[in-house]
């Protein structure tokens, strides 16, 4: 993990150099470059260009901010067990500030963050994890006496580029779920006008973060983004269209109950409420935990965690369609009852007034 000490060690060197220091071979390095090319959906012929960039260019300085989060994206970053692609990923980044993993604490830690903001202005990458609460002046999330909204405004507006890691940072995520008590929002809404790359999912797949950074180092530009600010290489394809169970969908073979014959056979999870048909991410292609597996592969439907408002809109997770808005049985029944009582009362009053006005005429003549 480069320098997470918070001291900003001198001579940070290139990614390649730091890999050699870790005792990795050139072969490992080149295999990492080709994995990155594949993740970015680039042709293999561009692998040498990626290798060249990673050999020569300095590791980018990165600060990692955490706000209303569960550190799940940090877990995603750190859960690399073997010295393979997973740990190579960590060496690509020179992390100067990261609350969860840095050695420094207190004022010393905070100083390292603002040293980067001051000394590396416009040259560092800011990664934000977690949503930013803005209700009541932002009091619901404060670090070192400063509110999240203050910190994110200062750090992200001075960064070269901001990466929103995970759904909370991208769209508000779970803290922003109805009724959103803290007024949580994503980075793009919190600091309008800055360059933000959204890497949603719960958690973000760390390979997409690495690939975004590698793309930036290699080509000097951000990868092409969609209208939600997500890189197209990772979020351009629908999960349903790349799913290994898709053939069972087209055939009409569905899991109908957990543990039934279809479930054992690995059939389509559509009827179990899989949200693959409305979710865009590259999970089926690059998978998780160094390509071991992914939710649908493990027999559970997609919950659509990479989409905006997934906690409100993709639920119930085990049903195809969302609930009809405004329908909670008891609450709704009470409302209907109160409404009916009001209408009945009004009708009686209106009828009574009508009778008085018409002089108590009892029978109306037929037409």
């Amino acid at each position: 993990m480069g320098n997470a000490s918070g001291t900003g060690a001198p001579g940070r060197g290139s990614i390649y150099e730091s890999l050699l220091k870790r005792g990795l071979s050139r072969r490992d390095f080149l295999s990492f470059c080709s994995v990155m090319a594949a993740t970015l959906a680039l042709p293999a012929s561009l692998t040498p260009r990626i290798a060249e960039a990673l050999e020569k260019k300095e590791k980018p300085v990165l600060v990692w901010l955490e706000f209303q989060d569960c550190a799940g994206n940090t877990e995603s970053l750190l859960r690399a067990t073997k010295p393979t692609v997973g740990s190579l990923v960590l060496d690509v980044l020179d992390v100067e500030y990261h609350e969860t993993i840095m050695a420094a604490a207190g004022h010393q830690a905070e100083k390292s963050l603002y040293d980067v903001v001051k000394n590396k202005k416009g040259k560092y990458i800011a990664v934000v994890e977690g949503s930013i609460p803005v209700k009541d002046g932002g009091v619901y999330c404060c670090i070192g006496g400063r509110s999240a909204i203050d910190i994110v405004k200062e750090v992200c507006s001075n960064a070269m580029v901001t990466i929103a890691a995970g759904t909370c940072a991208a769209y508000g995520g779970l803290p922003a779920a109805a009724p959103n008590p803290t007024g949580a929002i994503g980075v793009k809404d919190a600091v309008p006008g800055i360059t933000v790359v959204n890497l949603p999912a719960c958690p973000m797949n760390v390979e997409n973060l690495t690939a975004t950074v590698v793309h930036f180092l290699t080509f000097g530009t951000l990868p092409p983004l969609d209208n939600l600010g997500r890189p197209l290489f990772a979020y351009g394809k629908r999960i349903h269209d790349n799913c290994e169970r898709r053939a069972h969908f087209d055939a009409g073979q569905f899991v109908r109950q957990w543990g039934d014959e279809g479930h054992r056979q690995g059939w389509c999870l559509y009827e179990m409420g899989c949200k693959g048909p409305e979710t865009f991410q590259n999970c089926p292609r690059i998978r998780w935990n160094e390509g071991v597996n992914w939710p649908v592969g493990a027999g559970h439907g997609c919950v659509g965690c990479a989409e905006p408002a997934f906690w409100d809109k993709m639920t119930p997770f085990y049903k195809r369609l969302p609930k009809v808005p405004g329908f909670g049985v008891e609450k709704t029944a009470d409302k209907v009852g109160a409404g009916l009582a009001a209408v009945t009362g009004a009708a009686i009053v209106a009828h009574g007034i009508g009778r008085v006005l018409s002089g108590g005429r009892k029978e109306k003549e037929e037409e």
């Binding site: 629908r238 053939a247 009409g252 559509y270 949200k275 809109k313 369609l321 009809v324």
Partner: protein, 220 residues
């Protein structure tokens, strides 16, 4: 009821054509759409292609429905007085009066049905809403189709909606739209049959032949 009856050409060919295309499309779209929402046939072999065919039929019927609705939309500008927008949108005092009378008739408050050569004012007004429902189904349908088929055409036909509403909300209301259309279809057939049997004006036959038989009171 007077014995003298005149034969009136009320429904021109494009009106009848689009009506029946709509009927076939709605049937096909409802059956396949219901399957897509909640699969009711399950394959016994992976060589089958049930969902594949259901989706294919749904999409082809969707395109057909779109064309039919566009044609009917055009005809509301150039067709006869019974098929124009004027017959659908209540804009005269008489139409509003007829609308109230028709409602009273259906609620068993009034004994005599209002007379109309084409649609009654209430029917026309209802079709306006049904027409809006058709447009919603088309736009929301193509918004969902836009997930599969990328391109400017599909963005125009409905893809733009995904920027306004969440996909799952679109899906839910696309689904509920089907039930509204089916509920309308039932009421539509029942009322048609009821009026025909009361007035003996050939209402049910008119959507096949185009001709209705009127007594003359309609022009009062």
């Amino acid at each position: 009821m007077a014995a003298e009856r005149k034969r009136v050409y009320a429904w021109e060919f494009p009106v009848r054509l689009t009506h029946w295309i709509n009927v076939l499309c709605i049937l096909a779209l409802s059956v396949t759409g219901f399957y897509i929402g909640a699969p009711f046939i399950h394959a016994v072999s992976s060589k089958q292609y049930i969902m594949g065919w259901m989706r294919f039929i749904h999409f082809v019927a969707g395109y057909t429905f779109l064309c039919s609705v566009v044609l009917r939309f055009y005809w509301a500008f150039v067709g006869n007085r019974y098929s124009r927008w004027g017959a659908l949108i209540p804009h005269t005092g008489r139409q509003w009066r007829d609308l109230g009378d028709t409602l009273k008739f259906y609620l068993f408050v009034r004994r005599k049905p209002p007379y109309a050569v084409g649609h009654t004012a209430l029917a026309g007004f209802t079709y306006l809403f049904v027409f809006a429902l058709f447009v919603w189904q088309i736009i929301s349908g193509f918004a969902l189709y836009n997930l599969v088929q990328h391109g400017t055409l599909w963005v125009i036909l409905g893809g733009w909606l995904t920027g306004v509403m969440h996909l799952q909300t679109i899906r839910l209301f696309h689904h509920l739209g089907m039930y509204l259309i089916l509920a309308f279809a039932l009421a539509h057939i029942y009322i048609g049959w009821y009026l025909d049997s009361r007035e003996r004006n050939g209402l049910m036959g008119s959507i096949f032949s185009g001709f209705k038989f009127v007594t003359g009171k309609e022009w009062e």
